[in-house]
């Protein structure tokens, strides 16, 4: 093989890059995966996975130094001393935003990207979501429907392993091969029954997640059943949850066709105007700053929404003065996120003769119930509510001192129920990312300037989210109900989406129905930037399915000699 020449270049090794690597290498293509961060090998590099709290100097606290260096990342629910190594150091990886529009960009620069620290919720979008832009006129129509992606959801599901229950909810498609759901505990069964008896249109079900709850011999090679440690964010030595590191990359390595290059910061895409092809990429070594060029027949961008979009914006040519593959002018626009930080807590009295066993890494979901049959609310779209119940743990906020109090602290408290809402964001042209005209990072690449906010529709939805959490908790018969409405900052829910959207019309979209650039046929983008609407759920499963689908399409086109 010619030096620096491959069949396919994949930029990024997270959920989508891992899938592209697996699909192409398994079909015999020499594949180069470029990862800007360090290498993290499954199991052997999970250095904190078996550490106890007392093995960290500050235990559950962040030192002032960490607070200063990780001001954004340390906000994340699963950031702590055990997972810090899988989050970027904010001070080394800055980005910009207008002062009145804060943006939170959570990132992991290492092999596997954010797949090591993801939330693991695994949901199928339905035609309610795929058809909604067309129905209510916000954004452009998705170029695909559920039937187009369904076989790919099935395909991905069989490989990654998803636990859940069949529910037969029309707008919430079931998996075909669900592994058993994590069990519901006593209190959860009680609140489920009460809630479902009251609301015929709502269900409280185990959240569908990419966890192995049951492994048949030979299934999920090298991965094992969840041992309920709830230490996913430190990397799982059992490989019990899906990550690129535990699943797709090992499969790709096994073919002998994968080259993974770490510390490879992709600066720009090399474009050949004569053939109208992306012929390769320019890479800066993160440490030596040395520049190298790599070439391939096909380039897949899987670097995450903002990074892939930034890369295109930074690859200007005379034909594409506003960013590569941006003849439409929409590249960088329609940035979406999910809005959250609305929650409630309450106590379910009684049932204290029962408890659960293990640290379950999952929770429950109430799938969307608003605007299903048409617009019935004063806002468009919808949201889900997730939650769980558990016996309250150590509670110092109570009266008592001395031996008796000390003893009391070790006893499980009452059943505490938590509900959290998670909502859809409409696509807005003015929510966008662009390259800053002056400031650059230490590799000489312009910083991203991100400007996004939630608007009236999301605000109206948030009112309903809070009210419904309150009402649901009352229906569940809870006591001491408290609801909280927190901040609404784009990016807070991690799922940045939509800045290189798919569409039928090349004038209003960057990608076609197969994640292929309208403008440049051998350039594909399969991360969240392709999203046309945000839906209200974790999008990772959809990205994976779209990636596998795009790979098959690209392979066919390569075979035909089209690309």
């Amino acid at each position: 093989m010619e030096k620096n020449k491959y069949d396919v270049i994949v930029v990024g090794s997270g959920v989508t890059g891992g899938w592209a690597a697996k699909e192409f290498t398994e079909k015999g293509l020499e594949t180069l995966v470029l990862e800007r961060g360090r290498d993290v090998k499954h199991i052997e590099d999970y250095s904190t996975t078996n550490k106890a709290p007392w093995e960290y100097k500050y235990r559950g606290y962040d030192s002032l130094e960490v607070q200063e260096q990780y001001p954004i990342q340390s906000i994340k629910y699963n950031f702590d001393a055990s997972s810090q190594q899988y989050f970027v150091n904010d001070s080394e990886h800055p980005y910009l935003n207008p002062p009145d529009k804060p943006f939170r960009w959570f990132r992991g620069y290492q092999t596997g990207g954010r797949s090591i620290i993801w939330g693991r919720g695994t949901f199928r979008m339905s035609d309610l979501e795929f058809g909604e832009n067309l129905r209510d006129g916000h954004g452009i129509d998705w170029p695909i429907r559920y039937k187009d992606i369904e076989p790919w959801y099935d395909y991905v599901e069989n490989f990654i392993g998803i636990c859940g229950t069949k529910e037969n909810i029309a707008h919430y498609p079931d998996g075909k091969n669900f592994l058993p759901a994590f069990e519901m505990n006593t209190a959860e069964k009680v609140i489920k029954e009460r809630m479902e008896a009251h609301y015929p249109d709502r269900k409280l079900i185990p959240t569908r997640m990419a966890h192995l709850t049951k492994v048949r011999p030979g299934q999920f090679k090298g991965r094992f059943e969840c041992q309920s440690r709830n230490m996913c964010h430190a990397g799982c030595p059992f490989g019990a949850y899906f990550s690129s590191n535990s699943s797709t990359l090992p499969a790709a390595y096994e073919t002998g066709k994968l080259t993974l290059r770490s510390n490879a910061v992709v600066e720009s895409i090399i474009y050949d105007a004569k053939t109208n092809r992306a012929i390769g990429v320019r890479v800066i070594d993160a440490h030596t700053l040395e520049t190298t060029e790599f070439f391939a027949r096909v380039v897949f961008l899987c670097a995450s929404t903002l990074a892939s979009t930034g890369l295109l914006l930074n690859s200007k040519t005379s034909r594409f003065p506003n960013g590569l593959a941006n003849s439409s002018g929409v590249l960088g626009h329609y940035l979406m996120g999910h809005h959250k930080n609305i929650d409630g807590t309450g106590i379910l009295e009684g049932y204290e003769d029962k408890i659960d066993r293990g640290h379950r890494p999952s929770n429950l979901t109430i799938p969307r119930f608003r605007n299903i049959e048409g617009k019935e609310m004063d806002f468009f779209r919808g949201y889900s509510i997730s939650g769980s119940a558990s016996r309250e743990g150590i509670n110092p906020i109570q009266v008592g001192i001395g031996a008796e109090f000390k003893q009391k602290l070790t006893k499980p408290g009452p059943w505490k129920v938590t509900l959290i809402a998670y909502g859809e964001c409409l696509p807005y042209y003015e929510n966008r990312v662009e390259l800053d005209s002056e400031k650059k990072d230490k590799w000489g690449i312009p910083l991203l300037n991100i400007s996004a906010e939630f608007k009236e529709n999301e605000m109206k939805m948030r009112e309903d989210m809070r009210a419904q959490i309150q009402e649901t908790m009352e229906v569940m018969g809870l006591k001491n109900i408290e609801t909280n409405v927190g901040t609404h900052i784009v990016g807070d829910a991690t799922h940045e989406m939509g800045t290189a959207r798919m569409g039928k019309d090349p004038k209003s979209s960057v990608l076609n129905a197969y994640n292929q650039c309208h403008d440049i046929p051998n350039l594909f983008i399969t991360d969240g930037s392709c999203m046309v609407s945000s839906s209200y759920m974790s999008p990772s499963f959809t990205y994976m399915a779209l990636t596998a689908r795009a790979c098959e399409y690209a392979l066919k086109q390569m075979k035909k000699g089209v690309i």
Partner: protein
């Protein structure tokens, strides 16, 4: 509430609700006293003695270790240096000082000078008064101190293993098992 807000709230709690503005200058004088004890980073030996006395009254030695047996005071001292911001550190030290002044005004002695029995009697009253109330963003020093002590205690190896059901690898999750008066909180490695 996100993770950072929770941490910030923790520091807000340290803003003493019974902080009298007139005492601020006195307190600033106090802070200039540099600890001579090599192992202490922020607390001076008097402050350390007070921290030990209060935390051991909240969590005394029983069949299992006391707060100071597992060096809760040193951990609090470390947090004051490396984790809490300057304002919180000041609030804590002011709170500790005022706690002692209140104790002296009530009992005639500083807290660490009281006998074990007197400590229990005095702290019981303070505890019932403070922990029996609802608060907004600002809470009294003792409220925060107690929370800090308990959290620190159970995050130590001996505090956790000897008191709780420490089980970092429980095996497949079981949703419903029987629970009785001997059942202890199960703790893993999640912080």
């Amino acid at each position: 509430m996100d993770r950072r807000e929770a941490v910030v709230k923790m520091s807000w709690m340290l803003k003493s609700a019974f902080l009298a503005p007139t005492l601020v200058t006195v307190l600033q004088g106090c802070q200039d006293v540099v600890s001579k004890a090599q192992e202490l980073l922020v607390l001076n030996s008097d402050e350390n003695e007070t921290v030990i006395a209060i935390s051991d009254t909240i969590i005394p030695r029983t069949k299992t270790p006391s707060a100071s047996d597992v060096k809760v005071n040193y951990f609090i001292d470390l947090l004051l240096k490396d984790v809490f911001d300057e304002q919180t550190r000041q609030d804590f030290l002011k709170g500790l000082f005022l706690f002692n002044e209140d104790c002296k005004a009530t009992t005639g002695s500083y807290f660490s000078e009281l006998s074990d029995k007197e400590r229990v009697a005095y702290l019981k009253e303070v505890d019932e008064d403070i922990m029996g109330k609802e608060y907004g963003e600002l809470v009294p020093f003792y409220y925060s101190f107690k929370q800090l002590t308990v959290t620190a205690y159970f995050s130590t190896k001996e505090g956790a293993i000897q008191n709780l059901d420490y089980n970092p690898v429980p095996g497949p999750y079981v949703g419903e098992v029987e629970c009785n008066e001997d059942t202890k909180i199960m703790m893993g490695n999640h912080m």
